[in-house]
Symmetry: C2
Subunit: 205 residues, 2 copies
């Protein structure tokens, strides 16, 4: 049995404990013959996967009524795993979702690290900096690198901590954001944990 | 006498009470024969202007010691006019500067409306929305348009209001942001007011 989280750019597989990634453009999912439980935010790939008998879409085993129609399945699956907390999933976008007593309260979307850096650089060459993750968030900056770092990181930090709940960091940039959320729990495997929970609950294996 | 604020894309003139704009690429500043007091954030244009006798750079009449070296002259001039407050200048970037008792405390930079909308759209077609400025900032969203609007606007709102000071809105998108800062004072002519103050203080005319 394989687990697979399909994003916009890659297939992210978990084979018991081994992780591996495949590129969305070059990889042919028909080459996999064993059973794959997957979630998929990529509409093009989803079309192919639904035609394959051994690829089982876990979305159909989730009660979708607490969520909204256009909400990404990755966000939904993350929320399904958490009882109380703010889930910060830092990928190409940063999604922030709040779950209280096992119920989805709401969520929002913020540009991911790369997207935001590009956004600043496109405004002006003078704003082309890497973010400073060691920034002191309590001091309003007096230099350009910190001025964009604060604009990106402090604003996110203020909102996320305003809920006064546990913070769960996941996604490819979880470790980068850990320095501004020292109190957060890093759960890089959050989606796979949740997929396993859904499989068990639905008695799929 | 003319006042001129040169940005990355345009010359913004004030002739007593009349406003007019000229494109940075197509406009030749040599065609103006009267005295022009200007500020300029555009390095290419600045090179030309310093060679013209009737164009007077107001930057040389400001005490720069409270500010930092790479800080835009437009931000500095805005700070020079304010005694106490948070200045939100919403242009291609949104700059936020805090002034207390006439002293610059610090500031930061956030992408402007267009840049941020483009940033979301580049991440995914599914995030290609106009921002909803009528959004209720007290409710965590449950739909895609509000999820990106909250990500952009609420995060800015939280930081700006956290200073518990007067808010001064300026720049081309000041009116758009007014709905999320109903308590703010809109000062579209802030830079020109400040330039006049600097001219008077330096007894230039």
């Amino acid at each position: 049995m394989l687990l697979c989280d399909v994003g916009n750019t890659s297939y992210d597989f978990l084979d018991n404990v081994r992780h591996f990634k495949e590129n969305v453009i070059s990889f042919d999912p028909r080459t996999i013959k064993q059973k794959v439980y997957y979630i998929c935010v990529n509409p093009k790939v989803k079309k192919i996967l639904t035609s394959l008998d051994n690829w089982i879409d876990l979305a159909s085993y989730i009660d979708m009524s607490p969520y909204y129609e256009t909400m990404g399945i990755d966000r939904i699956v993350a929320c399904e795993y958490v009882q109380n907390g703010v889930i910060v999933d830092a990928g190409s976008a940063i999604t922030v979702d709040v779950v209280k007593d096992g119920s989805f309260v709401g969520g929002y979307i913020y540009p991911g690290v790369k997207a935001m850096q590009k956004s600043y650089a496109n405004i002006s060459k003078a704003l082309e900096y890497e973010f400073n993750y060691e920034l002191n968030l309590d001091i309003i900056p007096k230099n350009s690198q910190d001025a964009i770092s604060y604009g990106y990181l402090k604003l996110l930090h203020l909102e996320v901590t305003s809920h006064k709940m546990d913070i769960i960091l996941t996604g490819g940039d979880a470790k980068r954001l850990a320095s501004i959320f020292p109190q957060a729990k890093i759960e890089e495997e959050l989606l796979f944990h949740s997929m396993n929970k859904i499989i068990k609950k639905a008695r799929l294996c």
